[in-house]
């Protein structure tokens, strides 16, 4: 085992080296083209294409009776393009929707492919033709000439995308603009589809018909979590794709029984899950953190507001008993303890005795601001939106935390124009005793 790993890492085995380069390039090309397909909302077209290619592989073999890659590639490409045309034809001519059209094309072409392959296997020359490798892919068993083909097409696809990057970007985001610039939109669209066809066709041998879609979709969808920028998304998708290729080749060179395709797909899925969880902003962890941050901010603001409300009722004293907060904030005691600790950290409150707290100047200013925005919003709801008084408090509670200072100023101006005195805002409803 160690020996194998060493051989892999040192890339001393020429065959492993070829396969590694091939599947890396394939992963990159698929990631790049997949990004465009994803943004163009055509992810599953690649899936349909891959399935549709199978009868083309069979026919390519039947016509030339050779397993060399070029006729198979041409046959697969033609069948794939026919498949796309079939989908477009079905949706254009009648009431069948795109999802069903994709499903029909995918299954019927695939069925036809299976019929051809089983027919070929009965031919004297068809025995051990190895065409069934196309179903699941086996990168390790590819010939150097196959890998050469794969690398050339991948490089070609990558170069075309680099050359036509601006045009493709407009094709995805602003077709009308592209057309006014005088570009042939349809031809560019078709070119993009043809590039998808090419990538799918070279991927068939490595990952197989069923799983080819994953190489197009999964890295691109993973990259989408990280960035809003097309260029960085493409680069990331290419990196994910390339690494999936490396991992797939590596594991299946360790255990030759395991086909390369599924391992590559699982590696890509792993990158996707990692992205979904850990990407900044759009990632799951980032969202949870943001949610927790918002919740904590809200609890602190409720606490501060409760402090002001208590002070308004008790002019004589500055030290607020902790138990006054229990009813006002509706927080359990354990929560209150934590909120108190956060506010002490921020130097907004301090303990004046063991069970009384006092607002610092900083805390007092902040609390006044919160109370003011809360009440201004209530005024606004009452006078402008004419809500019932008993509905006010809850609605104000929900929105006051997301009102920005600008909005508060705006509301204040509106209310002043309507003759409401905003210099000293008092609560529109009785305060909690």
């Amino acid at each position: 085992m160690m020996d194998q790993i060493l051989r892999f890492i040192s890339v001393s085995d020429a065959n492993v080296r070829y396969v590694l380069i091939g599947s890396m390039l394939l992963g990159m090309a698929a990631g790049i083209i997949g990004t465009f397909a994803l943004l163009r909302k055509r992810s599953l077209l690649g899936d349909a294409l891959a399935h549709a290619a199978l009868p083309g592989v069979g026919l390519g073999f039947l016509l030339t009776l050779s397993k060399s890659i070029v006729p198979l590639f041409i046959g697969a490409s033609i069948a794939g393009i026919l498949g796309v045309l079939t989908i477009i034809g079905i949706t254009r001519t009648n009431r069948i929707k795109q999802d069903a059209a994709i499903g029909i094309t995918l299954s019927v072409y695939f069925g036809a492919g299976i019929v051809l392959l089983t027919y070929i296997q009965r031919l004297p020359s068809g025995n051990q033709s190895g065409l069934d490798k196309f179903l699941f892919g086996q990168a390790a068993s590819m010939l150097p000439s196959d890998i050469m083909m794969m690398s050339i097409v991948s490089l070609l696809v990558i170069l075309i995308v680099i050359a036509l990057f601006k045009e493709f970007r407009l094709l995805i985001f602003d077709q009308a603009f592209l057309a006014t610039l005088g570009y042939p939109v349809h031809i560019l669209d078709i070119l993009l589809m043809v590039l998808v066809v090419f990538v799918v066709m070279i991927g068939l041998q490595a990952v197989g018909v069923v799983l080819m879609a994953a190489l197009l979709i999964t890295p691109a969808a993973g990259a989408r979590f990280w960035t809003e920028n097309l260029r960085s998304m493409i680069i990331l998708a290419a990196v994910f794709g390339a690494f999936s290729g490396v991992v797939g080749t590596f594991l299946s060179s360790l255990a030759p029984r395991i086909p390369t395709g599924p391992v590559m797909v699982l590696a890509a899925t792993m990158f996707f899950v990692i992205s979904a969880v850990s990407a900044p902003r759009r990632g799951l962890a980032a969202k949870l953190l943001q949610l927790r941050h918002n919740r904590r901010k809200m609890q602190q603001e409720h606490f501060l507001r409760a402090a002001i409300e208590w002070l308004e009722l008790h002019h004589e004293s500055k030290a607020i008993p902790l138990k006054a907060f229990i009813g006002r904030t509706e927080m359990p005691i354990s929560k209150l303890k934590r909120v108190t600790a956060w506010l002490i950290d921020k130097r907004m409150i301090k303990f004046s005795s063991s069970n009384h707290i006092q607002l610092t100047q900083k805390g007092y200013d902040k609390a006044l601001q919160i109370v003011k925005s809360h009440r201004l919003w209530e005024y606004y709801l009452l006078y402008r939106m004419q809500l019932q008084e008993d509905h006010l408090h809850r609605d104000a509670d929900e929105i006051e935390h997301i009102l920005t200072p600008d909005l508060i100023d705006q509301i204040e101006k509106i209310l002043q124009n309507e003759g409401v005195d905003t210099s000293n805002v008092v609560s529109v409803h009785p305060l909690h005793q």
Binding site: K41, I104, A112, V115, V210, A221, A255, R257, I258
Partner: protein
């Protein structure tokens, strides 16, 4: 023996097709065809795990494993789509490929230990069905797959019968279903559970590829023929059965995979329906288009002959001339001429065409309508009094029926009139 083998194979295929067809109709209507596709791929790891744990081809562990993974697929796709904001098609693609990959890896790791391989799962070995016989107390009870898929078929029928109303409403109007208090998402998962169960039952005997095809193609084919759901369900079953019979014949002829040939047969039926279906098929559309063209041509023809009557000196119209003078093309004009001669509006004497009395009346009405529209367009719609008015009248005259004529007459003349009045006017002339 040959014949009975064929019988069992076709029966299995038909049962699969019928079970999938019923569910598939709802998948097509709910625009969820690809979720059916995804499920039929992603139950593979469930089946593999059931194999590993039970170390047998027992039905029950397989059902449990596959159904669990079927529901897991739907659940994960929904999470990706709704919670993680991944596009729906991409979510489907990511989940089913990942699960299928796991399945393939599991199976290839166990290769040699069990008699299950990837190719078998994909193609399905429906050809072996007749030899997998259930034997109870020494008596032969027919092939096991027939029992299995037959049971599932009955469960499917019971499911649809029980929840028919709920399925219909939640398929066509989910908001209404929700407001009526149905538990839409529970029903959704029940339905997906049925799809998983059917998939696994079919999987074992016919392979994934035929399941995908039968889930989508017969339902979509039936959808082309009818607008009524009960008819669609029955048709989808019929198309499914036809595909399996026809496919079996193709497979014996080509000596190829039976499941693949059944899929191809379903595809051929779909293609034929695209051409022939009355309302949505290409021929049906062509027929409707032709009918409209013929009615245009007929109007043009009558007007042409009527204008010849008014012209001095009267020129005579020969049939060859009408083809150039109408703008609707040769075939519709020819058909319109035949139709009008049959209905006695146009007669032919000495190679010339004449309007009969009823033809004259018809043409007169057309001209009336034409002029009525011109006046309406000019006075009420304020179109300028040039080609604008004439052009629009030229197009509208074909569509104005008696009721609209009446309305227009009232609007234009600001008065009540009756059909009889218009008729009187004509007769006085």
């Amino acid at each position: 023996m040959e014949l009975s083998a064929a019988f069992w194979i076709i029966l299995t295929g038909s049962l699969v097709a019928a079970s999938c067809g019923i569910l598939g109709s709802f998948l097509v209507l709910r625009k969820m065809s690809l979720i059916g596709d995804a499920i039929s791929h992603s139950v593979l790891p469930g089946i593999a795990i059931a194999f590993i744990i039970s170390a047998s081809r027992d039905v029950l562990p397989m059902i449990i494993g596959a159904s669990a993974f079927g529901l897991l697929t739907v659940f994960l796709i929904e999470i990706l789509n709704k919670k993680w904001r991944v596009q729906e098609d991409a979510s489907i693609g990511i989940i089913y490929t990942a699960l299928f990959a796991i399945g393939v890896i599991l199976i290839s790791m166990m290769a040699g230990h069990i008699d299950l391989d990837q190719e078998c799962v994909l193609y399905g070995e429906i050809a072996y069905t007749p030899w997998d016989i259930v034997i109870i107390n020494g008596a032969e009870w027919g092939p096991r797959p027939v029992w299995f898929i037959g049971t599932v078929f009955i469960i499917n029928i019971l499911f649809i019968r029980t929840f028919y109303k709920e399925m219909v409403i939640s398929s066509f109007d989910p908001a209404l279903a929700m407001s009526l208090g149905f538990n839409v998402s529970l029903l959704h998962y029940l339905f997906m559970g049925m799809v998983s169960l059917t998939t696994v039952a079919s999987f074992e005997s016919v392979g994934a590829i035929l399941v995908v095809a039968m889930l989508i193609v017969p339902g979509a084919t039936a959808y082309l023929w009818t607008n009524r759901l009960p008819v669609m369900l029955i048709l989808s079953v019929i198309f499914g059965i036809l595909s399996s019979v026809f496919g079996y014949l193709l497979a014996t002829y080509w000596e190829s995979s039976i499941a693949g040939a059944m899929t191809v047969a379903a595809g051929i039926l779909f293609l034929v329906s695209i051409l022939l279906a009355p309302q949505y098929g290409l021929l049906g559309k062509f027929y409707n288009h032709l009918k409209l063209s013929v009615s245009f041509a007929s109007d043009h023809l009558l007007l042409l002959l009527y204008r010849q009557l008014e012209r001095e000196p009267q020129t005579l119209v020969i049939p060859g001339a009408v083809y150039q003078s109408t703008s609707t093309g040769r075939l519709p004009t020819l058909l319109a001429l035949m139709k009008n001669r049959r209905d006695g509006r146009i007669s032919k004497r000495k190679k010339h065409l004449y309007l009969t009395d009823s033809g004259k009346e018809m043409a007169h009405q057309l001209i009336q309508r034409h002029r009525l529209w011109e006046r309406f367009a000019s006075r009420e719609l304020g179109l300028p009094d040039d080609e604008h008015v004439h052009e629009s009248a030229h197009r509208m005259e074909h569509f104005i029926d008696e009721n609209i004529t009446e309305e227009l007459y009232q609007v234009v003349n600001n008065e009540k009139s009756s059909k009889s009045k218009a008729k009187d006017k004509y007769e006085k002339k």
